[in-house]
């Protein structure tokens, strides 16, 4: 009797679990299929081509030649360093400005609606448009150079600092900072709003001043919230192509630009190298992201 009852319950439970799994698969499958085919498929094909497996041109080999040639080529190391410099600096500046602006924007003030709208505006602006905007603003014949000339700071356009097509990718960094501050800032605002004022008020009651409250209460709460967003930015800037192509020097160029140049090369032998470069970019992105995560978690633990 008891056994029979139990058996019935088990059957019911099993059916329930089956049902739950079926509905899960039903909900997830469409999106997963698209991502698996496009992403995993593309990555696997890219990897095999970078290793020299290209049936289209009759190559069935397997070798690391493309990788070795790439790493040995003279442009590689300067390009790698430039790419790391630009992506890390753009991310850090964007994070600092995002936190500062989010702390200001969460308060009430006159004209908040308009300022909030302006703040979100860069989110919607395509990177290409901003690359053109920054070019017309900070190049040696740009609006800022003209203003500097008019007030007598410079006597000639060549005296204006070189901010685009420069060695350090300043113009590229400017575009990304302008674009990504609201992205991280809005996430920070969401975090600040979700935690309310309780922690802050408690800290104040315990005698903390504004700086201490920010440093030891707000910051440790904001950082984990904006960490994923800043990782997205870091990975994005590291591998994106348009802005460095328009505002970067041709040597050293950022890695994505090198990869594209190899890919459109008329010489089909350059193809495996282009693939190898893209795969390397992916590997570097993963290493950089893991490193960045580690580092920020350590900082967080120390300040918590």
């Amino acid at each position: 009797m008891v056994g029979g009852y139990r058996k019935g319950l088990d059957g019911e439970r099993a059916a329930k679990i089956m049902n739950a799994w079926m509905s899960l698969i039903f909900m997830l499958a469409p999106a997963l299929v698209v991502i698996l085919v496009l992403f995993a498929g593309g990555l696997a094909l890219g990897l095999s081509q970078s290793l020299g497996y290209m049936p289209i041109i009759g190559a069935y080999g397997f070798s690391l030649d493309a990788y070795l040639q790439l790493i040995k080529s003279p442009g590689f190391v300067p390009s790698l360093l430039l790419t790391i410099f630009v992506s890390v600096l753009a991310t850090l500046i964007a994070v600092v400005l995002a936190v500062a602006t989010a702390l200001t924007l969460r308060k009430r003030f006159v004209g908040k609606k308009i300022v909030s709208f302006l703040y979100q505006f860069p989110l919607t602006v395509p990177h290409l448009v901003m690359a053109v905007g920054v070019l017309l603003l900070v190049s040696q014949s740009g609006l800022l150079a003209r203003a500097a000339f008019q007030v007598g700071l410079i006597g000639d356009s060549s005296q204006f600092p070189i901010l685009v097509f420069d060695d350090l990718g300043i113009g590229i960094i400017l575009v990304y900072v302008w674009k990504e501050v609201p992205f991280i800032g809005l996430i920070a605002l969401a975090v600040l709003q979700s935690m309310g004022n309780d922690y802050e008020e408690q800290a104040r009651t315990l005698g903390a001043n504004s700086w201490q409250t920010f440093r030891h209460v707000l910051l440790p709460l904001i950082i984990p919230g904006i960490l994923p967003g800043s990782i997205i930015i870091l990975a994005y800037v590291f591998s994106s192509f348009e802005v460095p192509f328009l505002l970067g020097k041709s040597f050293p160029a950022m890695l994505s630009v090198l990869s594209y140049r190899l890919y459109i090369d008329v010489d089909l032998d350059a193809r495996p190298q282009a693939m190898a470069m893209s795969i390397l970019i992916a590997v570097f992105v993963l290493i950089l992201v893991l490193f960045y995560r580690r580092l920020s978690q350590r900082i967080l633990r120390r300040s918590g």
């Binding site: 799994w21 899960l24 039903f26 909900m27 997830l28 999106a31 698209v34 496009l38 992403f39 995993a40 593309g42 890219g46 095999s48 081509q49 200001t104 709208f117 979100q120 860069p122 989110l123 919607t124 602006v125 395509p126 290409l128 053109v132 905007g133 603003l137 150079a145 003209r146 302008w178 996430i187 975090v191 979700s194 800290a203 001043n209 504004s210 700086w211 201490q212 440093r215 030891h216 209460v217 919230g225 904006i226 960490l227 994923p228 967003g229 990782i231 994005y236 590291f238 591998s239 348009e242 328009l246 594209y260 890919y263 693939m275 893209s278 970019i281 992105v285 993963l286 300040s303 918590g304």
Partner: protein
């Protein structure tokens, strides 16, 4: 949690006594936001109406509508590119919404073995550069006849955008109470009615925010469009890139403004969903 004991001496500055300083900083940040955002847009506006504008003139000597006339003429192919961009962006967004709602619901509401792996797979396209993936899949697309077609471009645009949609939706569903649906069922509502009247209003901020992201990613995509569209599928970014490298500042600037306009329109409608109150941006904190 609050390490007040170990604070270095410079931390203990008494800032409380200077409310005026705070007001000054507050106003300075707001002014910086306004100026910083508008600065790079100003030269675009002025250039688009300038006839001749040489260094060191701070304003153009002569204004003209030349660039705008050119943009409006069939010669520039802008209308064609605009339609292509809108169609591709629209189809990508609708597809992402249809795929993203169920996937976001599964990830936001349930726990199951292997969930971390699924989440990792879905988010991987955001971290791993699209260039590596698209260069690899190019060969397959050639064989399937998908290169140089709108369908091929739509498919590759889904790659960087779908993960955002799922991320936003799973964030929204994580704060969603399924009980309301059960109540609707027990009151006799069918699946469709329950979805339209109970689920949809609750997740609408997420759908709007996610759609905004997806559309904008597709709208501003250049490199994926060029690689798969092969120069045959002309979208606004493809056209803008060509003008920007050709060096006619006035036409480039005017095209930039055309490129900006729909985004501003969308933002006017979605702005309130983005400001922290709706929690739609919270999904990014749950990676």
């Amino acid at each position: 949690m609050i390490g007040l004991r170990r604070v270095p001496s410079w931390d203990r500055r008494e800032v409380k006594g200077c409310p005026a300083c705070f007001r000054v900083i507050h106003v300075a940040v707001i002014v910086a936001i306004v100026v910083g955002v508008l600065m790079p847009v100003i030269p675009l506006l002025v250039w688009s109406f300038s006839h001749s504008w040489f260094f060191p003139q701070i304003l153009p000597m002569e204004l003209s509508g030349r660039a705008w006339t050119y943009i409006g003429s069939p010669l520039s192919k802008v209308a064609n590119a605009l339609i292509n961009s809108l169609v591709i962006g629209g189809v990508v967004t609708i597809t992402a919404v249809l795929l993203g709602i169920p996937a976001g619901r599964a990830l936001g509401l349930s726990r199951f073995p292997g969930k971390t792996l699924v989440e990792f797979l879905i988010l991987a396209p955001i971290i791993v550069p699209g260039l590596a993936v698209i260069m690899g899949i190019h060969v397959l697309f050639i064989r399937l006849g998908l290169v140089d077609t709108l369908l091929g471009v739509v498919l590759v645009h889904l790659l960087p955008s779908l993960p955002y949609m799922i991320m936003v939706m799973s964030g929204v569903f994580a704060n969603y109470n399924v009980e309301f649906e059960h109540q609707a069922y027990s009151l006799g509502a069918g699946r469709i009615r329950t979805f339209v009247h109970v689920t949809l209003p609750a997740i609408l901020p997420g759908i709007v925010t996610g759609s905004l992201f997806v559309f904008l990613i597709s709208w501003s995509q250049y490199i994926l469009t060029v690689l798969i569209g092969g120069g045959r599928v002309i979208t606004l970014p493809v056209l803008l890139f060509a003008f920007a490298t050709a060096g006619d500042n006035s036409v480039t600037a005017a095209l930039c403004i055309v490129f900006l306009a729909p985004a501003i329109l969308i933002l006017l409608f979605t702005s309130r969903f983005l400001s922290g109150e709706s929690g739609a941006m919270g999904g990014f904190g749950r990676l």
